[in-house]
Amino acid sequence: MRLLPFLLSSAATAGLVLALNTKIGPMPPLGKFLSPQHGFWQNAEPVNKDYNEELSFPGLKDAASVYFDERLVPHVFAKNDEDLYFIQGFLHAKFRLWQMDFQTEAAAGNVSAIIGDKAIQYDREQRRLGMVYAAEKSIEETKKDEQTTNAFAAYEKGVNAYISTLTESSMPLEYKLLDDHPRKWTNLKTALLLKMMAKMLSSGTENDLLNTNAKSLFSMDEFKMIYPQVNDSLEPIVPKGTVFEKPGIVPVKPSTADSLYFGKKDTVTYSEVSKPDKNNGSNNWVVGGSKTKSGSPILCNDPHLELSFPSIWYEIQLTSPGNNVYGVSLPGTPFVIIGFNDSIAWGVTNAQRDVKDYYEIKFKDKTKQEYWFNGAWTKAEQRVERIKVKGSADYLDTVAYTLFGPVMFDESFSNDLSHHNNYAIRWVAHDPSNEGGAIYKLNRANNYNEYANAISTFNCPGQNFVFASKAGDIAIWQQGKFPARWDGQGLFVMPGEDSSYMWQGFIPQQENPHSKNPELGFLHSANERPADSTYPYFIPGNYIIPRGIRIVNRLKEMNGITVEDMMKLQYDYFNVFAEDARSILLKYVKENELDANGKKYVDMVKGWDLLASPNSNGQTVFQTWWDSLEVEIWKDDITRVTPAANWPESQTLMELLKKDSAMKYIDNINTPQKETLFDVVTSAIKKVSVDLQKEETAGKLEWTKHKDPTIYHLLKTILPFARTGIPVGGNGDIVNAVTKSHGPSWRMIVQLTAQTEAYVVYPGGQVGNPGSKYYDQFVDTWAQGKYYTAWFMRRGEEKDARAKWTIQFKKG
């Protein structure tokens, strides 16, 4: 033996193996990752993969079959509910495990354990928002309901049954890239996923912190003018003219409100780390048989969410005795969330209501053991949050819990540590409730009463449940648990030293805005205020106005409606906001002051067909010009607010200008002269025409090129598995609500004829694995506004050619 060379080459080999088996920076362990028998190559599915399988699990009670159609939509036929949800859990895991695992870990504030210390602030915020606390409470409540408890337990078993089949080779790609491994599924994770939805849809719908800052500068009259509760152009969800009953609860404004609340001029320096997107909205509508060609109702829904790979939705049909339902499910929870069964169809949009308030807490000392409440020092619970951090020591964070809720912001969190105020949150998502139970019942509802009863316990996030039945009923309920507020309550941070500012009760469920079989023959919702100003409660929220106006305008004038008409409406590009806003721009622009370039762009807006089509230049110029006008008008006023306030809504500005062309905020307070609407509209186009010219030269003036619609992988910056430059128009305030990476996450049209007809599509694919051809299979169809015909499979159709693959499940 030649010792030295032997030792050297052995050491080199060992070093190499060690280095290639270790994750270094963003690089996965390369040896492991590149091995054709272990690494990413194992995730490169053959494009002609055979999905037929025979599986047996001791956790099953009986045999069951799953038939996959050519889009890999599973049609599950089970002999009992436990097996049904076991199999749903198994399928979710088989096709979407990494996504559901990661999203629930993220909801719980465990991202640092997966990707390291850059996620600590995110994790702290999730903990301080009380996400785990909320999920625990909801599990407590769920235990009271046997059906939901059994469904969650069966689902948990099914997910874990799949996890136990995994080997190093068959591990989903993302685990390999991040050098991570799946965690065991629990019903707490199911609850966390539902709380993730609650945060997404009911945590970004308030602006208490920024409003408090705005209040420090603007008078209450000014505040009401620029942040109005009811917009002039509102088309509410329950038709105008609906008569509301006398309120069952009349909250009383505290006597100190004028001095301690409205009149207080303090500011808030804290801001949220991950505030949900305001555009998390949606459209749904339903037309009754009187307005359709077939004489049967047609129900439509397109929920607008962040578009991602894997998609948030997983399409599925679930059949067990007494239950046959088709639609989309959320990987991580059992049931169908949006869909139809043999008798009814339903869809949801977000209620956008404010259900989260902040209270300022006075602690005795820095230990936060006691706080001042109703004249005495009261004990605060301490919850110690241990955040695991990949590659470093655990991070410990102590969160104080008061009678209001967790103290989210204090001197240790978040961005500005100079203020030492403590803000506790009161959030409906923390209250015990069992949303799963409501959905379980909704899946099985056969008529209006069963639907209304099923959803009546759905508390958070508040949703607009639109409904249609084969019996011919159409209906909508804005359902949720909503605090009954006195006028102005919860717009701003409230005093938390006694009980006088606490919520005094909730709006009785029966008084939630709803409508059944209205004379007009249709109902809709599109994230607007649910009712006009005659509704007897103060209901702030983050409402979006224009889409509803367009939908109502179209449905009013349509008759003999067909499914194709509804497809066109879901894909509608008409910019209803611009209809008014453009006339303001064109009326006040001083064209004689513009150079040739400026004139060219004004002409483009003049000749524009008001459609936000993919190739529209007019839409790009209009939007850029309007945005520039908002800067001209608001910048000098809003930036006076320290540290920050919200910019007023575009809809609000348009309405203000329509009413009063000499509106006081038009003037730039930083200049000696007084600007008129003519001046600011003209300078707005002047300021952007150079940029527009640059875009035009670069070939990016067309709307879709300007906007560059993109669907990212959930790990956005870490993984480039995105689809960019998707040729689709639309915008957040347009019915086809596609923005840069946000929009209709599922489009569904159901015609409730004797034989249900359903047309569906979503911008993703059934398989979460980026190495599968099904990963992004539906994107082009979705972008073109086309649909797939859903196969609502019946027993007896097992031999149908549409059943392309079968998985047979057996007990054993």
């Binding site: 033996m1 030649r2 060379p5 032997f6 080459s9 052995s10 080199a12 080999t13 190499l16 193996v17 290639l20 088996n21 690089m27 390369l30 040896g31 492991k32 590149l34 091995s35 054709p36 028998q37 272990h38 690494g39 990413f40 190559w41 194992q42 995730n43 490169a44 599915e45 053959p46 494009v47 002609n48 190093e168 790609l173 993984l719 480039p720 598995f721 980026p770 190495g771 599968s772 051809k773 990963y775």
Partner: protein, 114 residues
Amino acid sequence: MKFIVAFILTALLSYAAGFYFPWWNIAIVAFVVAALIPQKPGKAFLSAFLSLFFLWAIFSFMIDVNNNHLLSEKIAQLFFKVKSHVVMVLVSGFIAGLTGGFAALAGSYLRKSK
């Protein structure tokens, strides 16, 4: 002749071991084969390098063809900012070749008497 036997044996044993053991079985296989079949260190390195390079490259190439290059192009974009499936096949082969080559070198030095 020894070269060819070592080449074939390393590939075959690594392929079989891959079903039961982690990826670094290739280092052990290459080491053992080089220790059992005496060759000059340079030749031992080369036979193992080529053997494992081809094993991993051909194996991944076959997977890649069946996958229409869907995943290899995405991974290549992630690692090298190029949309090339060939790069991933070559890099996979190279990593295996290098690991096995060094292990074979050690194996051959174990046997070599002077």
